[in-house]
Structure formats: structure tokens, C-alpha cells
């Protein structure tokens, strides 16, 4: 892989480069309205704004599980690239999500994912989803990713 895929050293540069994955380059992230809001050395934070078309139960206004799965998958993938310091092709191997409490309708969801271990071929990530208070998460997740570059 050439150096073109290296992430910049500075935070602003990393934000800008990783934000590409939340533009129309990744159509489904873009369709849901996902937005990268913060990056750290091994951690990504992504927001999913509440929207009527995401509702899974029309009588409570609670968001469906599907958009939460997409939010977690995308945030986890970004945290892997942050840890590796470069943009690498990867695929999700598995993802486990525990729903800890019901999401409040009308409020955006924020996922924070940390890639805590990588080997040559596999990356391990854990994530939390909250609605403003990290100490009261809505969901907790764990995922593994296969790094697919030759």
C-alpha cells in the first residue's frame, strides 16, 4: 500500500480524511446522516441524528435497531483505521450488540468505538452508544474486523 493511504499526523487532518467515509463515498452512511464528530489515537466518535424515517415503532417513535447497527459498524471501522494510522480495506467478521436501555425518541445517538487490539490480519473493537451521557449507554457492542490488504 502506498503512502497515499496514510492518515495525517494532526487531528484536524485525521478528522478531515476519516470524514470521507461519512460522505457520499459510503452511500449508506450518508443516507442515514451519520457524522464523524471526533477522533482520538484509537477511538472514533460518530453521531446519528434522530430522523422520522429511522423509526422502528411508530407508536413510541423509538428508532429501529438497524440504524444503530450501521452506526456501530461504521464507527468501529473508523476506529480501526485510526489505530493503524492508515486507510485499509477491511470487512466486518462479526458484531455483537447488547441493548442496555431503550433509546429516547427525538434525541440523536452517539457511538464511541475503541480499537483496542490489532494483529496482522484481525482488529478487535468495542463500542458504546449513548444519548449525551456516556455513563448511561443505550447499547454496548463488540466487533472483529478482517484486514483485507495483501
Amino acid at each position: 500500500m502506498s503512502d497515499d493511504f496514510k492518515l495525517p499526523e494532526d487531528k484536524a487532518g485525521r478528522m478531515e480524511r476519516c470524514s470521507l467515509f461519512y460522505s457520499d463515498i459510503v452511500p449508506h452512511n450518508h443516507a442515514l446522516g451519520l457524522r464523524l464528530v471526533d477522533v482520538a489515537p484509537t477511538e472514533a466518535t460518530v453521531e446519528l441524528p434522530y430522523a422520522d424515517f429511522l423509526v422502528g415503532n411508530p407508536e413510541t417513535g423509538v428508532i429501529a435497531g438497524g440504524p444503530v447497527t450501521t452506526l456501530i459498524d461504521a464507527t468501529c471501522g473508523t476506529s480501526v483505521m485510526l489505530r493503524l494510522g492508515r486507510m485499509v480495506p477491511m470487512v466486518t467478521l462479526d458484531l455483537r450488540i447488547d441493548y442496555l436501555r431503550p433509546a429516547r425518541p427525538g434525541v440523536s445517538l452517539t457511538a464511541v468505538a475503541e480499537c483496542y487490539r490489532t494483529t496482522r490480519q484481525v482488529a478487535f473493537v468495542r463500542a458504546l452508544v449513548h444519548q449525551g451521557d456516556k455513563n448511561h449507554p443505550v447499547a454496548s457492542a463488540q466487533g472483529t474486523f478482517m484486514l483485507t490488504e495483501e
Binding site: H28, P58, A64, G66, T70, D73, V91, L95, D98, Y99
Partner: protein, 152 residues
């Protein structure tokens, strides 16, 4: 995790659809499944889910491949519709946990899913669900999920 509002309109719709099998009335009543193009169909006498391909489902434009999240969404929706239409649960079941194995990349085409209820207790149901495209014996994603059921 108790419901604060009774979900009477959906409950009535579900009861009706169980009898009439006009599945689209239910999937259209849920904004997210309508947005995703996820519907319930009767195919060869079997009730299954189909997620109709649309370009906005793509996660990797270069391959191209469906976004992993869309497959998770299809698997979870298929499980919920199976529970709603095949059991007596009066309200939309709430997911407690979902574990997805991604087996193959999803091509830009329609994807199908079939859920099997492996255990249904009074409060919790366990579901296994597979998603496939061309060949049902080669699933592209598979999940097991736990749901909290509202007591009848």
C-alpha cells in the same frame, strides 16, 4: 423496559395482517423498513423477508458491496416480523442482543432473509436468522438474537 404507551394501532394491524397475509400493510407502517425497502413476502409458500436493492444500501462503492449495517438491519427486521406474525405477541418485540456473523460480501442485488424462532418463552424469544442472495445454502450473513416480548 415497560411500554409507557399502549401500541393499539400497530397491535390491531398485526392481528389483521396475521389473518389477511397482506404483509406490505405492516412493513409500510414502519418508517424504517419502508425506507430500507424491507418487505415480507410469501415465496413458494414460505414467509420470508426481502430487502430490495437500492444504491443507498452500498457501504463499499469500489467492490461494490452492501453496508454491513444493512444486513444487520435485514436480519433483525426479519426476526421481528417472524415474531409478530407467527406468535401471539401483541407489540413490537424489543431486541435485547444481536450477534451477527458476516460470511460473504453482499452484492448490489436483492437480499433475502428467513428467521427461525428457536425458543419462545413467556418473556424472551431466541431467534436464528440467515440472509442470502443467489443461493440459499450459501448465506452471506447470519445472526442470533434475543427479544423481549410484551406479555399478552
Amino acid at each position: 423496559m415497560s411500554d409507557t404507551k399502549p401500541s393499539s394501532a400497530i397491535a390491531e394491524l398485526v392481528l389483521d395482517v396475521r389473518k389477511t397475509r397482506e404483509y406490505s400493510r405492516l412493513t409500510d407502517a414502519i418508517p424504517y423498513t419502508r425506507f430500507m425497502g424491507i418487505g415480507v413476502e410469501n415465496l413458494a409458500g414460505e414467509m420470508m423477508c426481502r430487502m430490495r436493492y437500492q444504491p443507498m444500501l452500498i457501504g463499499n462503492s469500489f467492490l461494490p458491496a452492501l453496508h454491513g449495517g444493512t444486513l444487520g438491519a435485514l436480519l433483525e427486521s426479519a426476526s421481528i416480523f417472524e415474531l409478530l406474525l407467527k406468535t401471539e405477541t401483541p407489540r413490537v418485540p424489543k431486541v435485547i442482543s444481536l450477534t451477527v456473523d458476516f460470511l460473504r460480501s453482499g452484492k448490489p442485488q436483492d437480499t433475502f432473509a428467513r428467521a427461525i424462532i428457536t425458543r419462545q418463552g413467556r418473556r424472551v424469544a431466541n431467534v436464528r436468522v440467515d440472509a442470502w442472495q443467489d443461493d440459499r445454502t450459501r448465506p452471506i450473513a447470519s445472526a442470533h438474537a434475543l427479544f423481549l416480548l410484551a406479555e399478552p
